[in-house]
């Protein structure tokens, strides 16, 4: 990694100038929102990230991968620091206090009412999910930073892992054959079964797909609106648009703060609900 004063700096500034000259070129918005091989600290320079191509797969460290590692390191650090203060006394003080409030909120409001009796097995995964999504969404609001959950690959991975945990929960509590048999209601004529079985299997997949798209679209939509509002200043070629534009962008950024917290809560709550629905036999 080395600091390069000119390489990608030119690309971003030029794309803004191009957008200012040619009004119908929105490519600079996607340049800020999509993944890339460099992190740009705009007036100061650009950090080029290492690229590895192994066996034909592109495994290079891109912008989003770097920030996933950063968020994971911060989460591990926070959790270790909070756990250490429990060695001194059972009553947490200071920093661990905040952490305990959030953990108790997830456990008592989200996990325990949805899953019921055996919730301790799934509590670590749901806590990890909640804190990762919360921290990723909040990181997206910092200048020069990227929203990791604004990448559909990341939300698809989170939704797939939630899907696997949901099926695993159902199989563990009912047994494999009984769980999949429980998908179709009993006592149907054979002809309807031919339609119902593919329909139920497809219905298994729509719920994680909706989770994925909901989180991705909520994060991306806010950022695209903010970029478009700020880009109006360049497209209109006048500085007097700036107070209105920055005012609206500030308001939308505050709304994004609310949406960030709510989306973390919704993702975790829906995953806990699906796990609860798999564990309890509902037919």
């Amino acid at each position: 990694m080395f600091l390069s004063q000119n390489v990608n700096n030119v690309a971003v500034v030029d794309s803004l100038k191009r957008a200012a000259q040619n009004n119908s070129d929105p490519s600079w918005i996607m340049h800020h929102v999509l993944d890339g091989h460099s992190i740009s600290f705009e007036p100061f320079g650009t950090l080029l990230l290492p690229q590895f191509h192994i066996f034909g797969f592109d495994l290079s460290i891109t912008k989003h991968v770097f920030f996933i590692f950063l968020i994971a390191a911060i989460l591990i650090l926070i959790a270790l620091l909070a756990a250490r203060s429990y060695k001194k006394s059972i009553i947490p003080k200071g920093f661990a206090n905040l952490f305990e409030v959030l953990i108790l909120f997830v456990r008592d409001e989200i996990v325990a009412p949805s899953i019921g009796k055996g919730y301790e097995t799934y509590l670590p995964y749901l806590l990890t999910l909640f804190f990762f999504i919360l921290l990723s969404n909040l990181f997206g609001l910092i200048p020069y930073s990227v929203t990791v959950t604004g990448n559909i690959a990341v939300t698809a991975a989170l939704a797939s892992i939630s899907f696997v945990v949901t099926q695993f929960a159902g199989i563990k509590s009912h047994g494999t054959i009984k769980y999949f048999k429980g998908l179709v209601p009993s006592g149907m004529p054979k002809l309807i079964l031919i339609i119902i079985i593919p329909l139920e299997i497809l219905g298994l997949f729509t719920k994680p797909f909706a989770l994925c798209i909901r989180l991705f679209a909520n994060m991306i939509a806010g950022h695209i609106v903010i970029f478009s509002l700020l880009g109006l200043i360049f497209i209109m070629h006048s500085i007097y648009v700036a107070p209105v534009s920055v005012g609206f962008a500030l308001f939308i950024e505050l709304l994004e703060l609310l949406v960030a917290v709510i989306q973390a809560y919704i993702f975790t709550m829906l995953t806990a609900l699906f796990i609860g629905m798999s564990v309890h036999s509902d037919h």
Binding site: P26, M30, I213, R214, A217, N218, I220, I224, I262, I266
Partner: protein, 73 residues
């Protein structure tokens, strides 16, 4: 002249109409029930926010398709 941009614009407008009607009905019945039972305001508010996020999630499906149309055209 590209019809995909027109489609994206009309689509986004229709998506906003749908989400607006849905969340408007949700807010109306939440206000009614809060006025009817003031001691249940806090659970109703929590359920209202959750339902609003889910309805917005559905509207974002349409929005993502409109964005794909607008940027691929």
């Amino acid at each position: 002249m590209n019809l995909a941009w027109l489609a994206a614009g009309i689509g986004a407008g229709l998506v906003v109409i749908g989400a607006g009607i849905g969340i408007g009905k949700l807010a109306a019945s939440a206000m009614d029930s809060m006025g009817r039972q003031p001691e249940a305001i806090s659970p109703i508010r929590t359920a209202m926010i959750i339902a609003a996020a889910l309805i917005e999630g559905v509207s974002f499906f349409g929005l993502v398709i409109c964005i794909l149309l607008a940027f691929k055209a």
